[in-house]
């Protein structure tokens, strides 16, 4: 069948790309081949715009067991254990059908982890929505949260952390990034490359339907709501639970040499990946793929994105065992093809060959693009804004414009308020290993059963800062995620990233993407955390606007003794200190956004050496048992950080000493300005000298703020009942249960 003129545009290939395919093949592609090229050369699978940039990121360290290129990255945490983790976006499907989009996003990232032979032990989510005042945004928010819970809860994987941020740029463009962390003994780590000519390709899990046809392609074009076609994927977490258990049991024994989940571009990408990673060929017969629906064409079978499926590479003598194990988990397994030695991906429909292409043409030959970059003028203009033109706040609590009143407004900001209305819908106690649950500390801490160790994990990005300065903002994202892990007591080991950006074919979009990756690389190098896995989601824009650039960073760290960890809770009588040299300023702050309705100014500078020294100091003090209370000063600055600690502890504080001034000496800046490299700690008076000595030795600034105690928050001339602060903060995002 001939390819109709322009048909390639239907699968989002450009005219030049189609010419390239003609040249590589030396003939016209078949319709099935064209669809496969469209999927594999999409941004989602082919990383056309991001590959040259991603190459610049650091990916190696002695403790890295598996870097980018596999289904997920893996690091050594000691005791022969590997921690496997990755973050992935499901933005476009969630914009179309938020519950199922978010649910299947969780399903996909979980499969990436157990494909590696690791048992998933924790989920985190990074979410972005437009303001909740718009009914559509409320609908998206409620259903995304519902979908994450609906899938993760059923799988029995605790959702232990995450973040949510609201900004107008996410109207119609919600971001849903899901991160999964798993644990495996080193020797159980499994890779996805096929090997062994003659080995069988077996498909297990769900039958194949017409779900999400062209999902990968549509993740790579603007405005998914108007362009989405095909059938929306509906997840089945029950089936995934069975698949998870079956796969882990299969990998415990012999016979399975590789495993690859079917995610974006379904059977196409899994077959291609298996062949290209293993340097072999693969032949499959779509006629042997079990279908959920009748009348499906080979094209549809190859591009279906039906969920909960897994492709196994099995030694012929292992087929019986696979069938037995899979049957015991109430699933079925089908041999759909085998490994060949000719490097070709060959697709049959019974006797007929419907596609036959060297695997490398789908992968290595995928074009990459370096686009023109130009900073959007509007962002440069915003960044030049000078906040000193605004009226300042006062520490006179009786006067209008007091810090106390502004603090209560900030606590009620959707970007600051309690996340419990979100995480209260996620099971975070299952697996009985959650030591620091969501809301209690800066990072979640999960114990590793059978060892003394634990892991701390956090996911972060300040989208607003990235919008104002993508390079600096991405540096901050890495620093903040590491700082949160360190505050909980974890030694940061490695990072995973999810690059959520607008259209890279526009100079503004490419500018943001390329600058953010540069900043991320610089911070990762300075802080010693290689990027071991990740995902790219571009074209997050509608006709009206693109999202704020959001290079989400997930970090995993290790605690050698999990009993020595920190939360943000302080105790009556504790001394309260501010550590670190960060100088607060108003640029890009939550206070500027809420109090003055301005997203403007330059984000705070970041001294990565000072940052590393602070993180090491705090992490070391927690690991040595000196600190049990540490909290990063994040959005809303010092006053919000102190209020959060008081609320979580139900113990107030008296800040008798003025905190260090900000960049310009303003009152609002001192209390509500934001900076990196600042951590509030609390400890018994008796331990203060030991901490001071450590700060002295490490060259980390330390400033006494006051003392924890009572039931009021006394700071900046204000005295606010802790219960009143909690009241302002608790139910902004929704009701709380129990």
């Amino acid at each position: 069948m001939a390819i109709a003129p322009g048909a390639w545009r239907e699968v989002a290939l450009s005219d030049a790309e189609y010419e390239r395919i003609l040249g590589l093949l030396g003939r016209e592609p078949t319709p099935v081949e064209l669809g496969m090229f469209g999927a594999m050369w999409s941004e989602h699978c082919g990383y056309k715009h991001s590959r040259p940039l991603l190459k610049t990121l650091p990916t190696e360290a002695p403790w890295v067991l598996e870097g980018p290129g596999e289904n997920a990255g893996a690091v050594d945490v000691g005791d022969g254990l590997a921690v496997v983790f990755k973050v992935e976006s499901h933005n476009h499907p969630s914009a179309v059908e938020p519950y199922e989009g978010a649910a299947t996003g969780v399903g996909g990232i979980v499969r990436d982890i157990f494909t590696m032979g690791a048992r998933p032990v924790a989920l985190l989510d990074s979410l972005r929505f437009g303001p909740l005042e718009l009914a559509r945004n409320r609908y998206l928010f409620d259903n995304v949260v519902g979908g994450i819970g609906g899938y993760g809860n059923c799988l029995g994987i605790p959702t232990v952390g995450g973040e949510v941020f609201f900004d107008r740029s996410f109207n119609g463009n919600p971001l849903v990034n899901a991160m999964c962390v798993g644990v495996a003994p080193h020797d159980r780590l499994t890779r996805a490359g096929a090997s062994g000519v003659g080995n069988l390709l077996m498909l297990i899990g769900a039958d194949t339907g017409r779900d999400g046809l062209h999902g990968a392609t549509f993740a790579s074009v603007d405005d998914p709501e108007s362009s989405h076609r095909g059938v929306v994927q509906v997840g089945n977490p029950f089936l995934e639970k069975l698949l998870l258990e079956a796969c882990l049991e299969l990998l415990e024994g012999d016979g399975v040499v590789a495993m690859q989940d079917l995610g974006a571009a379904g059977l196409t990408s899994s077959t291609v990946e298996c062949a290209s990673r293993g340097g072999v060929g693969a032949e499959i017969d779509v006629d042997r793929v079990p279908r959920r629906e009748s009348g499906m064409t080979p094209y549809e079978v190859m591009l279906s994105e039906s969920q909960e499926r897994m492709l196994l590479v099995v030694r012929p003598e292992g087929e019986g065992r696979v069938r037995d194990v899979v049957r015991r988990w109430s699933l079925h397994a089908d041999v759909i093809g085998h490994v060949t030695d000719d490097g070709m991906v060959r697709v049959r429909d019974g006797e007929a060959v419907v596609a036959e292409v060297p695997a490398e043409l789908f992968t290595d030959a995928c074009p990459t693009y370096v686009r023109d970059a130009a900073e959007p003028a509007e962002a440069a203009e915003r960044r030049r804004f000078d906040p000193s033109t605004l009226s300042d706040l006062t520490e006179d609590d009786e006067a209008p414009g007091s810090v106390g009143a502004a603090l209560l407004v900030l606590l009620a900001s959707p970007n600051v308020a309690s996340r419990r209305p979100v995480y209260g819908r996620y099971d975070h106690t299952i697996q009985t290993s959650t030591v620091v649950p969501p809301g209690a500390g800066d990072a979640a801490v999960v114990r590793l059963r059978g060892t003394r160790r634990g892991i701390a994990t956090a996911i972060d990005c300040n989208s607003r800062w990235c919008g104002l300065d993508p390079e600096l903002g991405a540096r901050h994202a890495v620093a903040e995620a590491c700082r949160n892990v360190a505050c909980a007591g974890g030694r940061p080991l490695a990072a995973t990233n999810c690059l959520n950006f607008g259209n890279p074919e526009r100079p503004a979009g490419y500018f943001q993407l390329s600058r953010a990756v540069a900043g991320m690389g610089a911070a990762c190098r300075a802080l010693g955390v290689p990027v071991v896995s990740g995902n790219v989601s571009l074209y997050n824009e509608t006709a009206e606007s693109a999202v704020l650039p959001t290079p989400t960073v997930g970090v995993v760290g290790v605690l050698d003794d999990v009993t020595r960890h920190a939360t943000m809770a302080w105790r009556e009588g504790d001394a309260v200190l501010l550590l670190g040299s960060g100088v607060p300023q108003l640029g890009g702050s939550e206070y500027l956004a809420q109090g003055h309705d301005r997203v403007a100014g330059s984000p705070p500078p970041l001294d990565l050496d000072a940052e590393l020294a602070l993180q090491k100091l705090v992490q070391g003090a927690v690991a040595d048992g000196l600190l049990r209370t540490a909290h990063d000063c994040g959005q809303g600055g010092l006053a919000v950080a102190l209020a959060e600690m008081a609320i979580v502890s139900s113990v107030g504080c008296v800040v008798g000493e003025a905190p260090p001034p900000g960049a310009t000496g303003r009152t609002d800046e001192r209390w509500l300005g934001e900076a990196a490299t600042r951590v509030v700690v609390a400890l018994s008076e008796a331990d203060v000298p030991a901490l001071a000595a450590r700060c002295e030795a490490a060259g980390v600034a330390s400033h006494r703020l006051g003392r924890a105690g009572g039931d009021r928050l006394n700071l900046a001339g204000a005295s606010i009942a802790v219960d009143a602060a909690r009241g302002a903060w608790a139910t902004v995002l929704g009701p709380i249960d129990g």
Partner: protein, 117 residues
């Protein structure tokens, strides 16, 4: 949509007492959309020995009593409800299966087909 009570001030809208119509609405996953619940129920039936079940699609059933002057406007109203709330048009199809004048309680009739205990 109008607010409840809007137009009742001058009585002109309520010049004639409206009649009550009872509509039955069936909502099912659209053809081709994965239906894990239907599959699980199918599996449950099979394990009970119902080997002759070919397929199960699971959905929801609503019975809505609506005030309207005639059957046509009642149907228009119920269809709007389906589009906006009762069904999720992204993944579900619906059918207004039956619409007749009457009152909702009297129309139930589930006792007739058993299972009331």
């Amino acid at each position: 949509m109008t607010e409840p009570g809007v137009g009742s001030g001058d009585g002109s809208v309520l010049a004639e007492p409206e009649r009550t119509w009872v509509a039955d609405v069936v909502v099912l996953p659209k053809p081709g959309v994965n239906d894990p619940q239907g599959e699980a129920i199918h599996g449950g039936l099979a394990s009970l020995g119902y080997a002759d079940v070919r397929r199960v699609r699971s959905g929801r059933f609503f019975r809505v009593a609506v005030a309207a002057p005639d059957v046509h406007s009642a149907r228009v109203s119920v269809v709007a409800m389906c589009d906006q709330l009762l069904a999720n048009p992204v993944i579900e199809a619906y059918r207004v299966a039956n619409i007749a004048e009457g009152d909702l309680e009297a129309a139930v009739g589930l006792d007739d087909v058993g299972g009331g205990s």
